[in-house]
Amino acid sequence: MTSSITTASKGSKILGLTSLVGFVVLVLLAFFVTDPDIRFHPETGEEFGQFDAVRLLYLHVPLIAVTYLAFVVCAIASAGYLVKRTFWWDSMAHAAGEVGTLTCALVLITGSIWGRPVWNTWWEWGDVRVMSTLILFLLFLGYLALRGAFVSPQRAARPAAIVALIAVLDIPLINRSVEWWENRTLHQKSTLSELKIEDLTLFTLMLGILVALLVMSWLILHRFRVAWLEHAEFEQGIKTAIEERRQIDNED
C-alpha cells in the first residue's frame, strides 16, 4: 500500500478539513448573507456604492493578511537559519516564501478584478500601494528563482535568507503607504483600525482572515514536508553516489 503514503498527518487532515468547512461557510456568508454595499445620498436620495463588488473584499483583504504573515514567517525562519544553520529553518523559510508568493499573486489578481468596477481601472501604474505590492511579489519571485539557481539546497540557503530579510522590509512600506503618500494612492485608509466596519460585515471579514490563515497553515505545512523530503532525497543521492564511487575505487 505504498501508493497511499503521503505528507498528510492526522493533524494536517483535521486542519485541511476545518479549512474546507470554513471556506464553505465563508462563501455562504460572503455571497448570500451579508448585504451589498449600498448607500443613499442624503441630498439627492440616489443610491450608490460598491454594490455586490464589495464581496470581493472578503477574499482580497484576508489574502493580504496572510501574505504579510507568510513573508514575516519566511523572514523569521531565514533569520533562524542564519543563526542556527539547520535545514529545518531553511525549509520553513522556503515553504513560507513560496506560499506567500502564491497568495501575493492572488492579492494582485483579486485587487485588479475589484478595481475595475470600483476604481474604474484594472491597474493603476504609480499607485504606491499597488506598486509596492508588485515589488514585494517580484522580490519573492526572485527569492524563489535564486533558490532554484543552485543545485544544492544548502548553497542556496544563505543568499536566499539574506534576500528574504531584505524583501520583507517592503511590508511596512506597503502597510503605511496610504498614510505616507495619501495623494499617490487610490487605496483607502485602514478600515479596521478606524473601526468603520461593523456587525456581519466585520464578522465575515474576520472569518475570511481566519479561513485564509488555516489554508495558509495547511499549505506551508505540506510545502515544508515536501521540502524536507526533497532534502532527504538529495542527501540520499549524495550518499549513494559516494558509495558507488567507493565501490568503483575498490574494484580498481
Binding site: 497511499s4 503521503t6 498528510a8 498527518s9 454594490f51 455586490d52 470581493l56 478584478i113 523530503l229
Partner: protein, 52 residues
C-alpha cells in the same frame, strides 16, 4: 446580484489556483514519500502503518 462576472472571476480563479497548488503539493509529497525511507518523515501515514 451585480458584478457577478467579477465575483466569479475573483473567487473562482483564487480557489482554482490554491486548489491546484494544494493538489500539486500532495502529489509531489506522495512521489517523494515513496522514494525516501520513512524514518526521514515521521508524519508519513499509510493504511498499513495506521492499522499496525
Amino acid at each position: 446580484m451585480t458584478h457577478l462576472g467579477y465575483l466569479l472571476a475573483g473567487w473562482g480563479l483564487s480557489s482554482f489556483i490554491v486548489l491546484l497548488y494544494a493538489f500539486r503539493l500532495i502529489k509531489r509529497g506522495a512521489q517523494l514519500s515513496k522514494r525516501v525511507p520513512s524514518e526521514h518523515a515521521r508524519w508519513i501515514s499509510s493504511p498499513k502503518q495506521n492499522s499496525g
